[in-house]
Subunit: 437 residues, 2 copies
Amino acid sequence: MAQKPNIPKGTRDFGPIEMARRNYIFQTIRSVFRLYGYEQIETPSMELMSTLMGKYGEEGDKLLFRIQNSGDKANEAPEKGLRYDLTVPFARYVVQHRDELQFPFRRYQIQPVWRADRPQKGRYREFYQCDVDAIGTDSLTNELELIQIVEEVYRRLGVRVSLHLNNRKVLAGIAEVIGQADKLVDITVAIDKLDKIGAEGVNKELQERGLSESAIDKLQPILNMAGDNDQKLNTIAEVLSASEIGCKGVEELREVFRLCHVSGVKLDIDLDLTLARGLNYYTGAIFEVKALDVQIGSITGGGRYDNLTGIFGLPNVSGVGISFGADRIYDVLSELSLYPDDMLDKTQVLMVTFGYDELDYALSVAKELRSEGINTEVYPEPAKMKKQMGYADQKQIPFVAIIGGDEMAQHKVMLKNMLTGNQQLVTIEELKSSIQK
Amino acid sequence: MAQKPNIPKGTRDFGPIEMARRNYIFQTIRSVFRLYGYEQIETPSMELMSTLMGKYGEEGDKLLFRIQNSGDKANEAPEKGLRYDLTVPFARYVVQHRDELQFPFRRYQIQPVWRADRPQKGRYREFYQCDVDAIGTDSLTNELELIQIVEEVYRRLGVRVSLHLNNRKVLAGIAEVIGQADKLVDITVAIDKLDKIGAEGVNKELQERGLSESAIDKLQPILNMAGDNDQKLNTIAEVLSASEIGCKGVEELREVFRLCHVSGVKLDIDLDLTLARGLNYYTGAIFEVKALDVQIGSITGGGRYDNLTGIFGLPNVSGVGISFGADRIYDVLSELSLYPDDMLDKTQVLMVTFGYDELDYALSVAKELRSEGINTEVYPEPAKMKKQMGYADQKQIPFVAIIGGDEMAQHKVMLKNMLTGNQQLVTIEELKSSIQK
């Protein structure tokens, strides 16, 4: 036969087992979002190019998938593109619907996004994001709630995680006190490598990036910081005492830690000044979550933004949000074998028949079982026994109800437990209760 | 401020209430699919153009949305397009994954599709389809099961429907016996108008479409057919007695009716020879479902295809499937006010506070409530009472727990029932049980 058909690079088909696992992840996340009062929205897959362009930096613009109308001339610039993340469409949504919304607006959104990235292991051109944001409030109780949501989602999924916390104002304060407010990006990029190249390596890189000797000197207490979160905060507070924005950042961090304490948060939280997450729109808290038992990078992340909707003409609306990376969470749960057994909502019983009269009888039994909520399949024809049983086996259906002339005459079925191999002649009532057990 | 941002023509944002309603529809449909053993798959939003082109006729090709890579030259033909339906991607999936699949393969798929149609009322460029298909089996028990699924889905949704049933082989038989096998399309198009223009009008149209006088004569028993399904089938059987394919069609219809009878199907089923559904790939049963209490056209439809996977090089795999139109079902439920009240999984209680100490206390109470599974929000700051209460009102949150200094000192809250207006000072335990009632 002809060559097998294929799908575009960087995209995936999801079969029944993958779908069951993905649904389990989405349901778990969704149920925690609901527990905190977040409501679901969906936005179109396509946005106007004017909504998307310039929001993700020059690199991001290049990674947008553009959509042609069939009517478009080949050399016309497409007016639409596929959404690149859920944050910009959310900002567009808030501005467009602001008169219908009640603020603070707590929304979640679980939808695919598309990026024309070079596909590689673990990086896809179509993947799902699960975003949760509270907008129209600058209260730090929202930061607390997002931390609680992270704690509860991973508790339910059974994944041990640590949450890395930083504050963009602290980073700005550092750049300010060392007299290099213009070099904020260089400083965070260098600090980001502390784990890998050590304090000396960072100092060298800072020098190369044009920081003055004295600026680098002033940075040393930060680079050599030790102790628990409180001790670190004290060190930072001291270094930043002359910076108004820096002090504000320290104060925000302290308050978030205090709220976590008040609310009994048990999650492992690390104050981590190396965390910057590259995104320019963060203005306060920055979050990142890592799995402790799998090497996979960040599985959840986000932060506070004071002016996300400003890009669409609605300034001064502060919000904070995080995004759960469904694909990486999927990989973590797979690697740690954390999927529950009963997640599949599988077929519970297959009706297997020896002839067409028995098939009629099987259909009426199936109807009764389904009316009790039992997931039931009828093998569609009286094929060879081996074939029908093989189907049950392959699909891992736990019970088979075998029907021959004798069973039918007695209004019974031969119930086979596919796990133990036991067979038993049972009435329809017994069949129901055996399966429901 | 600047002009409000917007979304592309023919697309929609879905807010919280719309999402809750849509989820209710999808969940209902999904749970019935599972009851019959169908398993979920998802395919990528993008397919290769080679997969899509030529599958939907010339008109369909024009309605495909093409996707440009940013690297593509403007005059290069895009290699990818957005999926146009779920049937062709399913056929592609079956052929591509045939070695991993167990046949008969029962799958369902709930995903958006895109068509570059001219947008108008009720017609969108992005909309969801809910498809269910059994492939790799020509047993008519599959037709029965799809009819049962239709019956059960609409029973659960509370919508009265009728199912129109036809068979492509009967249509082919009619064309054959009147000696115009080449005019099958003309005949079905004309018959399709019987309701609107009557038998005389149809005859006139058939004449215009070039059917001979004698062919039209032979068609009259069909056009003037009356009685119940059995009587109609007898008429058709007589007219088609000389056509092998026609007899086969009649036999299939009789068997489907018989299976429905055996299985206690109560659904109103109309044998409807005017039903053709335009799609060329149907080879046996053709289904269409209409709501009885809303004028909206078909809300579910489908049929049997003997060679869907043939287009991808895997011939002779018979299947049958139907598609539920989520958008029209949404409109039907809205018009008939059939959404259940408890569908929203709403926030059950809002914590309202008079000061920051109370806010701390509210956070700890909220934690307790959530650990009992109660959806709880804390207003993020001790704003004016009117503002906080207004928030609860707007979001239709049924309970508010008001916390001032006195309540906090007594480890209690003032519980207000927003429906009755009653207020009561209660302990945290009483708060839990009041909400859970």
